[in-house]
């Protein structure tokens, strides 16, 4: 799901710049200069003018500092003030996306537009067939009245010259649960009663108008100034995201200044064992099927859109939750930081008492880049425990949970499984139909909101194909002997 475009690069550049300033202890003095440095007068502007470009950057920074753009009270508040607050700590509210309204509104209000292929023909089937009387022919060319159009698309089908084009609104189109819509001002707004934090709108918007509310600066400030001890909990997907071995990636994370590093795959060991016995128990008791519970976006989906599915979702804690438990046991004083490829984990962690921060692959990459940590040259620290099964690292790709469960099932036991790879309109129909289904041929469903699994999460840095290869390598890195002796 990582699309390579300039909006993505802008976000990463902002992150790198912010972290660099923080690392040089000049954040407060220089933060308000970032928009000027990135959009100097001499460059041709991306939007209408350089001032608009800078304003957009300012708001993007505000989001990266963890603020909700809509909460801005005074437009003149300098970034410095927001940064001061951010370094002290954030007050999150459980919603982790914010729309940068300065950047948005560039998309169409009405999805249909008449191109210059229009011949102004005599038949005028567009006009005749429009149920809302929204089309007028002016100067020999059809025009759509935006006040009247209801986006039905009949005109497009009616035109024999294919002169009417469909213009999508990328964010709305990408959202599987219709959670993002224009408000009265024409700006996109996310309805958090519906949003499942899948992150699809964020990667879809070519203006980078939808941003996460990040915790990275607060975390890095505390690490750098040793305000608290921290333990990094590293999701297996992270091991597929950088050009280095799994050991090097883990050691590089430690070298940022974390006091300890635990692989979330360790928690996945526990999820596998628990979920397998739960599945067998449930089937014994006559349940028709069970689904996984580790994808937080899927869990939110069931809570907000399909409560009838809830009883069939496993109660087993996610690998992140188990890892948080391990972290608490081993390092009771440390703040727990989850590092992963997922936006929805932010809200899962928010509800979890033992997880203090979530940072993403992108943010981790920006940390590495800003601190000039070159992963390939880092010598692996043998002290980092690799008490993980290969299958547990495998959780990061679709099919991984199923595979892990199969690996611990006693030989001869047959369980029918199915993979739901990505939450989209089609799979939503399938999921919603499951509870009422009479005949069940599948006992275990693995559901992943991102197609391809966590290695295709919305805030990753490697394209899916590269991540797949790299994850395989990371799995192979675990010596079979070690895996047996655990």
């Amino acid at each position: 799901m990582t699309y390579y475009n300039n909006a993505v690069i802008t976000k990463r550049e902002l992150l790198v710049r912010l972290i660099k300033l923080l690392n040089n202890d000049t954040l407060l003095d220089e933060i308000d200069r970032i928009p000027l440095q990135m959009r100097p007068r001499t460059n041709s502007p991306i939007r209408c003018c350089v001032h608009k470009d800078r304003a957009v950057l300012k708001y993007k920074i505000m989001a990266l500092l963890g603020f909700n753009i809509a909460d801005e009270e005074d437009e003149l508040t300098p970034l410095r003030e927001y940064a001061e607050q951010a370094l002290k700590g954030y007050t999150q509210n459980g919603n982790f996306l914010t729309v940068v309204d300065e950047a948005c509104s560039s998309c169409v209000q009405v999805n249909y537009t008449v191109s210059n292929l229009c011949q102004g023909c005599e038949g005028r089937p567009c006009q005749v067939n429009c149920p809302k009387d929204a089309i007028m022919v002016i100067n020999g060319k059809a025009n759509i009245d935006h006040q009247k159009c209801v986006n039905c698309g009949i005109c497009q089908k009616a035109c024999p010259f294919h002169a009417i084009a469909y213009l999508p609104v990328p964010c709305e189109e990408s959202c599987p649960v219709k959670a993002i819509r224009k408000n009265a001002d024409g700006i996109e707004e996310i309805n958090f009663d519906k949003c499942i934090h899948c992150g699809k709108c964020m990667t879809a918007c070519p203006f980078g108008a939808i941003s996460e509310k990040s915790q990275i600066l607060n975390l890095f400030y505390n690490i750098k100034h040793q305000k608290e001890k921290t333990v990094a909990m590293v999701a297996p997907a992270i091991l597929s995201q950088f050009k280095a071995s799994a050991k090097q990636i883990l050691s590089s994370i430690e070298s940022i200044g974390f006091d300890a590093v635990i692989e979330v795959a360790e928690g996945a060991n526990m999820t596998t064992d628990h979920e397998t016995s739960e599945l067998l128990e449930r089937l014994e008791e006559g349940a028709p099927f069970m689904t996984t519970s580790c994808c937080p976006s899927y869990v939110q989906f069931s809570e907000k859109h399909a409560p009838e599915l809830k009883p069939f979702i496993s109660h087993t804690p996610s690998p992140m939750a188990y890892t948080a438990q391990l972290a608490k046991e081993r390092y009771p004083e440390h703040k727990a930081v989850f590092i992963g490829p997922c936006l929805a984990k932010r809200s899962e962690a928010y509800q979890h008492p033992n997880i203090d921060y979530v940072i993403t692959t992108e943010e981790l990459g920006a940390l590495f880049a800003a601190l000039k940590i070159d992963l390939e040259t880092v010598s692996p620290n043998a002290g980092i425990s690799d008490n993980v099964r290969p299958e547990s690292r495998g959780y990061a790709a679709s099919g991984g949970v199923t595979n892990a469960i199969r690996s611990v099932l006693s030989a001869g036991l047959q369980i029918s499984t199915e993979l739901i790879d990505g939450i989209d309109k089609k799979s939503i129909r399938l999921l919603k139909a499951l509870p009422a289904k009479k005949q069940h041929t599948t006992a275990f469903y693995e559901v992943m909101a991102c197609d391809g699994g966590c290695i295709n999460g919305p805030v990753n840095v490697s394209p899916l194909k590269v991540s797949q290869t790299k994850l395989k390598n990371a799995i192979r890195e675990i010596e079979p002997a070690e895996a047996l002796n655990e």
């Binding site: 990463r12 550049e13 660099k20 050009k243 194909k465 590269v466």
Partner: protein
């Protein structure tokens, strides 16, 4: 038939280049047109110091030792085709 590759593409694998679009370049091999398939070798190399945020040259690539800045798959292919067409003259 095995020919020795004529063109050496070195992709910077330093973290800055990698996160600023360089990751995509590792799929170059799949995008190469037939004309170039056997003539190109591709390898990753460590950071070579071109990654300043103010200059914005990343992602960086070397083609037969010559720097190509702000590289994209299409830019690399275009450059390779130019080289190849000149060589064929």
């Amino acid at each position: 038939m095995l020919t020795t590759p004529k063109y050496k593409v070195q992709i910077c694998c330093g973290t800055m280049c990698y996160i600023m679009g360089g990751a995509e370049l590792h799929l170059l091999i799949e995008a190469l047109p037939a004309q170039l398939k056997d003539k190109v070798s591709i390898e990753g190399i460590p950071c070579f110091g071109k990654c300043d945020t103010n200059e914005k040259l990343h992602p960086c690539v070397l083609i037969n030792g010559a720097e190509l800045n702000n590289a994209s798959t299409q830019k690399i292919i275009k450059q390779l085709l130019t080289l190849d067409n000149n060589d064929l003259l």
